[in-house]
Each structure stands twice: as C-alpha cells, then as structure tokens.
C-alpha cells in the first residue's frame, strides 16, 4: 500500500506539471492576478469577471515570461473572456473527451500566481448534468460542479483530470457560493464567436413580460411594455397582449422566452400566438440582436 501511495502522489504531481504547461496568470485587476488557460496557440481563455480593465493586460506564461495581451472579446453571460497573446513556443490545452466527465472522478483545480508558479487544489467532479442557462443569460453546454477549494487567484484556471487534461475553466461567479466549471464545449463555441465578432450575439424582442395564469391553468406572459421600433413593436404586438407560444411551444415564464433567443435566433422569423382581448391572434416576429451593453 505504501508504494501505491507514493505512485499516486507522483501521478498527481505529474498531472499538475502536465496541466500546468497551459496555465497562465492574467493581470487585469488590482491586487491578485487571476488565472487563464492557453486554449489555442496564441489564445488565452479566462473568467470574464476577473477582467477589471480592458487595456494594459499582461499574461505570465508558464515559462515565466510576461507578455502583453489584447482583449479579443468577452461574454459576461457565460463568464468567458478571450485574450490574444504572442506566446510562441507555448503549448495549448488538450481538453478531455466529454465522456470522461463523471461525478466522482478525481480532479484538480489549477492556477498561476504571477511569476510564483503553479497552484493546485485537489478534489472530485461533484456533479455533472445537462445544459443550463446562467443568471446572466449565457448558455452552458453541460453543468459541472467541482468539489475543490477555490483559493484566491484560481478563478479562470482549469479543472484538470488526473491525466492532466483540461475539463474546463473554473469560476465562482456564475452560481451562488460554489464554483462551477465551464465545459470545453462551451469555451470552444464562445471562443470561436468572440474571435470572429468580439461579442456573443443574443436575440431580443424588445418587450417587458410578466407571467400570468389563466383560470384553466394554462400560463402565458402578459406584455407590459413594448419598444416601438423593437422587433415585437414592428410585428404589431401591443401592451396587454398575452403571449402564449413561440414557434408553437408554450411559454409560461421569461426563461422559456430566453430559450428562443439564442444567438442564432437573430433575423429568423418565428410564429407567436397571442391573446388580445380574449381573441386568439398569430403574428410573426423576427428577433433582433440585443444591443450591446443592455440586458
């Protein structure tokens, strides 16, 4: 048993060493640096909430070089920010296959603190489940909760498996109290879009909504406000209408509506069924792109 413990100890240290080759420190806030991952050659991904300034950002690479970084884009919805760096010679993350994600698997959270080297904490993947939407409206492909201590400075760093492969990046900012890991699939999708456009497009209708329930138990959303030049306003929706379905699917709360307003909804007409003065009414709405900076 003693020997296997030593082997286990060496294996963990090896995993940290391997995973650590893609972990950087991100200097974009006062006091303590956050962490990031060399996701692709010349591309660093970190937790967006740790970016407190958009200029004069520097990165400490695994070989302790300090290099300037350009903010390529940020998505508060999924708490992902993408930075471009000149990191010739540095490696890029190898992400673990989706199938290897399993509750109970050993995992390590890594971070880098300036030039002071790698930092690690050990735990397990605590829970894995399906897609979810963050409180800021970002779509995440898979819910991953790590059971690891998130010490200061580890935000934006990777969760790795015992092979040293990256499972995603850790952030404490998307859920109350406990951290979550943003999976590689989400990072890949958001990174592609941020590199191409600099932001994540989200659809919007330009209405204020409130859930209502009819005596027969059916739910809907009453229109409380309409932007005159917004997509709903242009479609002819009025205050007081009750929205029942979008694309044929019932909508009973604002979450249901958000589900129809992913980035690819922009510019695609959809059918809306409403009640106006007790009469059924069908309209066609074309979601616009949510103005940046707004919610």
């Amino acid at each position: 048993m003693a020997n296997s413990l030593i082997e286990y100890s060496n294996a963990l240290a090896d995993a940290v060493a391997r995973g650590g080759t893609v972990v950087v420190a991100v200097h974009a806030r006062e006091r303590m640096a956050s962490s990031g991952v060399l996701w692709r050659p010349g591309v660093v991904v970190t937790a967006d909430h740790t970016i407190k300034r958009e200029e004069e950002i520097t990165i400490t690479l695994p070989d302790n070089r300090n290099v300037p970084a350009i903010l390529a884009g940020r998505d508060p919805g999924s708490d992902i920010a993408v930075l471009k760096v000149d990191a010739a010679g540095a490696s890029a993350a190898i992400s673990a296959p989706h199938s290897s994600l399993q509750a109970g698997s050993m995992a390590l959270a890594l971070g880098r603190r300036g030039e002071n080297g790698i930092a690690a904490s050990l735990g397990v993947v605590s829970a894995v489940s399906g897609p979810w939407r963050t409180w800021r409206g970002g779509q995440i492909e898979c819910f991953i909760r790590p059971d690891v201590n998130m010490y200061p400075g580890l935000s934006g760093g990777p969760l790795i498996d015992v092979e040293g492969r990256v499972l995603g990046i850790n952030t404490p900012a998307l859920t109350r109290n406990l951290p979550v890991t943003i999976p590689a699939a989400t990072i890949n999708r958001v990174t592609d879009e941020l590199l191409a456009k600099g932001h994540i497009a989200r659809g919007y209708l330009g209405v204020g909504l409130h859930p209502v329930q009819f005596p027969d138990g059916r739910g809907g959303l009453i229109i409380l406000s309409v932007e005159r030049e917004g997509p709903a306003g242009l479609a002819g929706i009025l205050i007081g209408d009750v929205l029942l379905t979008l694309d044929g699917k019932p909508v009973a709360d604002t979450e249901d509506v958000q589900g129809h307003l992913a980035g690819d909804s922009v510019g695609k007409a959809m059918k809306a069924s409403l009640l106006r003065g007790g009469q059924a009414l069908d309209l066609t709405i074309t979601p616009g792109e949510r103005p940046r900076g707004g919610r």
Binding site: M1, Y8, A119, L122, N149, P152
Partner: protein, 181 residues
C-alpha cells in the same frame, strides 16, 4: 489507503498542554527526547507532553522563536519513543500528497490528507489540506511518511507549515545556544 502511514506518524505525534487554554500538537524529532512544536502553543517554560499511547511526560522548553513560530522542548522519554523521519522540504512538487496529524479540537491523532498547493513561498509549505486550531505544532508529511513541515497557520483556508529544513536550521541554532549557555 493512508492507514499504515497515519498509524506510524501518530506514534511520532504528541499532544502538548502548554497553555492555560487549549492544546496543541508536537512532533518527536529525535531519539534524545527533543519535541518540536509551534512557539504559539507554549506559554511558559514548562509544559506537559502526552504521547499517542497516553503517557504524560514533563517537558522543558529549550528554545522558543516567536518570529518563526517554532519551539523545541526536551523530555526524558521512558519506554517506547518514536522519532519522526525528516524529509526534504526543499524539493516538493505541487500536487504531491501530504498528510497532517494533530489534535484538532482535542481529538488526538486525527489525520487529514491533501496536496502541496504551491511552492512559491520559500518560508512556508503551502498545502491544500483541512486543518483546525489544535493542528498547530503538528506534522505535515509526504506520501513516504517523512516530515516536511510543522503546521502553523491557516490562511484563507490554506494550510501553512514551517518547512522541515527551516526547523533543522532552527534546531541547530537552538541547541548550539543551549550548549553555550
């Protein structure tokens, strides 16, 4: 999987009654009866040491260094006395397994496990391991059961231990001073 290691390290761990309130832990450092602990565990010159098997021994303070938070005591051990094996705290790897043995909250010989968190600060071994106040002065060991540090404080959830090489240096100074005096 840590049972055998924990059992042998427990033999090298003592409980120290050195303050009016609460207890700390200590590490049996030498066959000659030296026990190393934290300075903040000891109030006066004399204290009591209790071995893992419940023997109570009188101890005399040899040297106390509050700045480094280290103290060394001398006892006259009667029968079984199990000095710890001292490891190399200068070549630690982030991620390697560590064990702590101590008497947190009065529970004697409690074991916790974790890993080396970072090696960025030469003056501390930083460990991702759960400690409680009574762990003070107790040992932090590697996967081979060699002592690499003396647990001293908890900082933002992180365990900080005085590296064993710093303890060795402290002992060399303390014992030289004791002989001269």
């Amino acid at each position: 999987m840590f049972e055998a290691l924990a059992e042998s390290l427990r033999r090298s761990t003592v409980q120290i009654f050195g303050r009016r309130h609460g207890t700390g832990s200590g590490v049996i450092w030498s066959t000659g009866g030296l026990v190393v602990t934290n300075a903040h565990v000891i109030d006066g010159r004399d204290c009591m040491v209790e071995t893992h098997d419940g023997r109570k021994l009188e101890a005399v303070l040899v040297k106390r260094d509050p700045r480094r938070d280290l103290a060394v005591l001398r006892v006259s051990p009667d029968a079984p006395w199990h000095p710890a094996i001292i490891g190399d705290s200068q070549n630690l790897r982030v991620g390697q397994i560590v064990l702590a043995i101590g008497n947190p909250l009065g529970i004697s010989g409690a074991v916790t496990t974790g890993i080396v968190h970072a090696t960025s600060r030469k003056e501390w071994v930083q460990a991702d391991i759960k400690l409680a106040p009574g762990n003070s002065g107790g040992l932090l060991a590697d996967a081979e059961g060699r002592v690499i540090g003396i647990n001293s404080m908890i900082y933002m959830g992180l365990a900080l231990a005085v590296p064993s090489h710093a303890v060795t240096r402290f002992l060399a100074r303390a014992l030289a001073g004791a002989r001269a005096a």
